[in-house]
Each structure stands twice: as structure tokens, then as C-alpha cells.
């Protein structure tokens, strides 16, 4: 079974600075999907960024980018120019490839990292 580990329960960053959130995972599959979700105090689960394992290029969405190291099974999230609105719980999630069937297409989540942004 796949596991996802977020080793930083809490992180803080100054407004306008850069912060990196860590995520590692364990899998025997060669093709899969990785996601970062943001959960602000409103409790919504908001997709931040997505990475397909077969793509070597790191995904980027505006101020959010990932450092995907497939061999190391690492998938960190970098937030540049941090804003007060970035304060939230961030979850890393893993998903098995298409066609794997059964419950394999569920998301397996890490336990989350609480990000505080200081003005």
C-alpha cells in the first residue's frame, strides 16, 4: 500500500518570502499522480498543483511550484512571494495510475502541514 509522509507538522514564513513544504511517499508503482491540496480555515479542499510521475518537468502554477524527485520519492511544494492568504493546512496526496482499478484510484493523503504566514 502507498504511504505519504509530511514530516513538518507546522511551518511559518514571513510575508513575501519563500517557503518549501516537504512530502515523501512510498510506492512500488512506476506511474502515478501527486497532488498538493490547500485547506484554509474555511475547510475547503482546494487543489493547488498536480504532477504526473511520467513527466520529468516540475509542475508550476503561478507562485506555486514543485520539486519532484522520482528516484528519491520526494514531492516538495515551494511557495514564492508568500501572501497572508496562503496561510492554511497543506496536504500532499498520491493517486495510483489510471487502469489500476479498484480503490487504487483513491487519494492517499499525508497528515498535513500547517503553514502560518507572518506579516
Amino acid at each position: 500500500a502507498q504511504t505519504v509522509t509530511q514530516s513538518q507538522p507546522e511551518m511559518s514564513v514571513q510575508e513575501a518570502e519563500t517557503v518549501t513544504l516537504s512530502c515523501t511517499y512510498d510506492t512500488s508503482e512506476s506511474d502515478y499522480y501527486l497532488f498538493w491540496y490547500k485547506q484554509p480555515p474555511s475547510r475547503q479542499m482546494i487543489l493547488v498543483i498536480r504532477q504526473e510521475a511520467y513527466k520529468q518537468q516540475n509542475a508550476t502554477e503561478n507562485r506555486f511550484s514543485v520539486n519532484f524527485q522520482k528516484a528519491a520519492k520526494s514531492f516538495s511544494l515551494k511557495i514564492s512571494d508568500s501572501q497572508l492568504g496562503d496561510a492554511a493546512m497543506y496536504f500532499c496526496a498520491y493517486r495510483s495510475p489510471m487502469g489500476s482499478g479498484g480503490s487504487n484510484y483513491k487519494l492517499t493523503f499525508g497528515k498535513g502541514t500547517l503553514l502560518t504566514v507572518n506579516p
Binding site: 491540496y37 475547503q44 479542499m45 489500476s100 480503490s103 484510484y105 483513491k106 493523503f109 498535513g112
Partner: protein, 112 residues
């Protein structure tokens, strides 16, 4: 508006009662999921559905029942609520396996 809607947003009930959490999506997504979120556990899958009338167990299904008579609805029922089922429940949907899951706003359920 298109999207995924959960109701109620908050619910308090007593042990032994039956309670149903509703989930409705307007995208006609095939796949729907129920997760529970507990401190220290992240989100864990309770049940999922690949299409109408097709459901299957996830990681923590005990004490829960689901149905999917229509593509757009995926209710979750606690047949006899227990305190250990106090949690925040999220419904999600996706168009197909490869697409990201979109989440509802969650239901905070407290069982006294």
C-alpha cells in the same frame, strides 16, 4: 451554480441515531468519494463509487452505508452513530481516474 454540494454543513446527533450526509454534484462526474478527516490522520477514504449503482469500500468503511441510485447523488449513512464517528466528512468527485478530485465544503458531524 456547477459544483459539489454537501449538506448539512454542521450536524449534532446522539449515539445510536441514524444520520445521513448528503452529497450532490452537477458535473455528471462518474467517480465519487467519501472521506473523513481526523486530527493526526489526514483524510481517509470511507467509500467510493465508479458510477451509478457501483460502490465499494475504502479504508475505513465500518459503520457506514452508501448508495448511488443517480449519478449526481452519493449519500453517506451512519446507521447507528458512535462517538468515534465524530469527524469532518468530505465528499469528492472526479470525471475519470486521471483527473483531480474536487471536494465539497465538508460536514462537521458531532456525536454526543
Amino acid at each position: 451554480d456547477a459544483g459539489i454540494t454537501q449538506s448539512p454543513r454542521y450536524k449534532i446527533t446522539e449515539t445510536g441515531r441514524q444520520v445521513t450526509l448528503m452529497c450532490h454534484q452537477t458535473w455528471s462526474h462518474s467517480y465519487m468519494f467519501w472521506y473523513r478527516q481526523d486530527l493526526g490522520h489526514g483524510l481517509r477514504l470511507i467509500y467510493y463509487s465508479a458510477a451509478a449503482d457501483i460502490t465499494d469500500k475504502g479504508e475505513v468503511p465500518d459503520g457506514y452505508v452508501v448508495s448511488r441510485s443517480k449519478t449526481e447523488n452519493f449519500p453517506l449513512t451512519l446507521e447507528s452513530a458512535t462517538r468515534s464517528q465524530t469527524s469532518v466528512y468530505f465528499c469528492a468527485s472526479s470525471e475519470h481516474q486521471g483527473q483531480p478530485q474536487h471536494f465539497g465544503d465538508g460536514t462537521r458531524l458531532s456525536i454526543l
